[in-house]
Symmetry: C2
Subunit: 349 residues, 2 copies
């Protein structure tokens, strides 16, 4: 039969079971199934070939057994593929807006081919292809949206303000620093190796950067780089780093809480002790979720695409090769093994 | 000489030395000096007779040896009178805007008579005298401004939203609850005795109230009163209460951090462990200081004075008698001894 002739093998990365503590490669396993490369007759589904898989810290949350409160943060299904952002090419489509051969990004399974049953809600079309396609997992995808709207909408940076970025060489942090520099801010970042610190200063144009692993007293380090205090803290880390930052915020300072990677693998999160200082300093701490800004994606592109073409924004990626290496790449995020945005290339166009 | 004839005795409450831990009555002492009841020739000072002294939790901060960062939060001067809000009557004035016999409120020394050398910055005139004058240390003074602008400016309450107030029978809390009710919210408060809980429900019209000392599990208590979660938390307490609240906030919830009285007397503040939840819930925590809203005092009066006259707002005060009892009244705040706003009446008009 014709339908059967279209079936091909489909390697998948399966989520084994809920995780507590640090995730391990063995929390996932590879399997090979088969998939029909045609969407079901009469459906509006889209069938894609995945090209790049995105490894992002928020995925750790979905590996826990979560209460079913927020559909954006539901747990992965044990026995089913890991879910994450990916760049893909349309192989077949029952949806009028998506045509065979078009490029898209959105949330897919970790597998060679994915059937996307609700493409309206999950897929963004890729129009600009004069940049590396992998950028749509980072600079031009969810991390870019996170960096831009977290900085602009939550923190309203003004020229001359002092911005501190933790996890600053990561997928989001490197962009926050560069966007803040474009907005005329003084920017300091921290990262976990000398190599990353040099990236921050030499490649991303941060004013200063330091290796948090080599500083015994983060409060003292921040006082050195921000003798007059911090106006804006883009929070990727949480815990003790947040405590040190709170001691160094300026009056009316703003903290955008994007993630707290230092806390994700702890059974009991660290206590934050210096919150009382937010009162007399009139500091705001605000959590946000990038999904809330996806509807403003085109506004973000209007800002960022010209900046990329003019060479004002650069992006560093750490690209693992092959779906077999996806579990190790994801796990590596939590020890800071990646340098820049962690991507997994699994196919060529 | 004429000047000497105007000198009268002036009892003062002197701050002995910087405090760590819980303040004690013996951290203050009474003394009697004399004061000339005329302002210095040619000065713009105002000399007032103090009628009511205000005891407020923020004063604990000024008993510590603070870094000299913010003039609103400088330490008390050992050997000088305690400073705090008071209601007073003008006895003599070199300032064209303040006339003998007028009533004012503002920051004064804890003493029978105070010489106010910068009245422009420190004194508010009292125009409405059909309410108890002591209200200008509470409902119509700093605590009222704190309650109103903290609730409206930081939390933007909408009709039907769910509001939780801790330390709810205190000077600020009782007002936050009543203001939120006027704005159409569902309001629950907590306090530290059965008597206070009854006040909240019977006198202030809170929808529900509970005694936090009788609840072993504050998370469970909040889940009981807020099965669908909390939209607005007016934070007066900090520490473990904040941790329980964070577990119960609704998406896009707002926390106005007005004070954290549970933390003021600790050498090492408690850790807050549940901050990561602000991210996926998009919760905002914002500190604020009532001084920033003093310029909008008349706007507040326009809202609150008609509500008082119409009987829509009530206020409970705990009035100690005599300047000798001021130290005990202040210290009592930190064990929750007061029922309602703590005031000290030291003279009649």
């Amino acid at each position: 039969m014709a339908g059967e002739e279209e079936a091909v093998s489909n390697k998948q990365v399966i989520f084994k079971d809920y995780v507590s503590g640090f995730p391990k490669e063995s929390d996932m396993f590879l399997t090979t199934t088969s998939i029909n490369l045609k969407v079901p007759e009469g459906s509006k589904a889209v069938l894609v070939k995945n090209l790049y898989l995105s490894c992002d810290p928020y995925m750790r949350g979905r590996m826990s057994n979560l209460p079913p409160e927020d559909p954006n943060f539901s747990s992965f299904q044990p026995g089913s593929p890991i879910q994450g952002f990916a760049v893909a090419k349309v192989v077949d489509s029952g949806h009028p807006d998506f045509k065979k051969g078009e490029l898209v990004w959105g949330v897919m399974g970790w597998e060679e081919y994915s059937l996307v049953t609700a493409p309206d809600q999950r897929l963004f079309k890729i129009y600009h292809t004069d940049v590396p396609l992998s950028y749509y997992t980072g600079l031009l995808g969810m991390p870019g949206i996170t960096a831009y709207f977290g900085l602009t909408d939550i923190c309203s940076p003004k020229e001359g303000e002092r911005v501190y970025v933790s996890a600053a060489s990561g997928a989001v942090g490197q962009l926050v620093g560069q966007f803040a520099k474009l907005m005329g801010c003084y920017v300091v970042g921290s990262a976990g190796s000398q190599e990353k610190v040099e990236l921050l200063k030499d490649k991303f144009g941060f004013d200063e950067a330091f290796n948090y692993k080599e500083e015994h007293d983060w409060n003292a380090a921040l006082k050195r780089y921000f003798p007059e205090g911090i106006d804006i803290y883009y929070e990727n880390v949480g815990g003790k780093m947040l405590d040190a930052v709170l001691l160094n915020m300026r009056p009316h300072g703003r903290i955008a809480a994007c993630g707290m990677i230092s806390q994700y693998n702890l059974q009991q999160p660290e206590g934050v002790h210096n919150l009382t200082s937010i009162i007399y300093k009139r500091v705001k701490i605000e959590g946000f979720v990038s999904f809330d800004y996806f509807s403003q994606y085109s506004k973000f592109l209007d800002f960022v695409v010209p900046s990329i073409r003019e060479g004002k924004i650069t992006y560093v990626e750490d690209i693992a090769q092959g779906i077999e290496n996806a579990p190790a790449a994801l796990v590596g995020l939590f020890s800071g093994r990646n340098v820049g945005k962690q991507v997994v290339a699994i196919a060529h166009e």
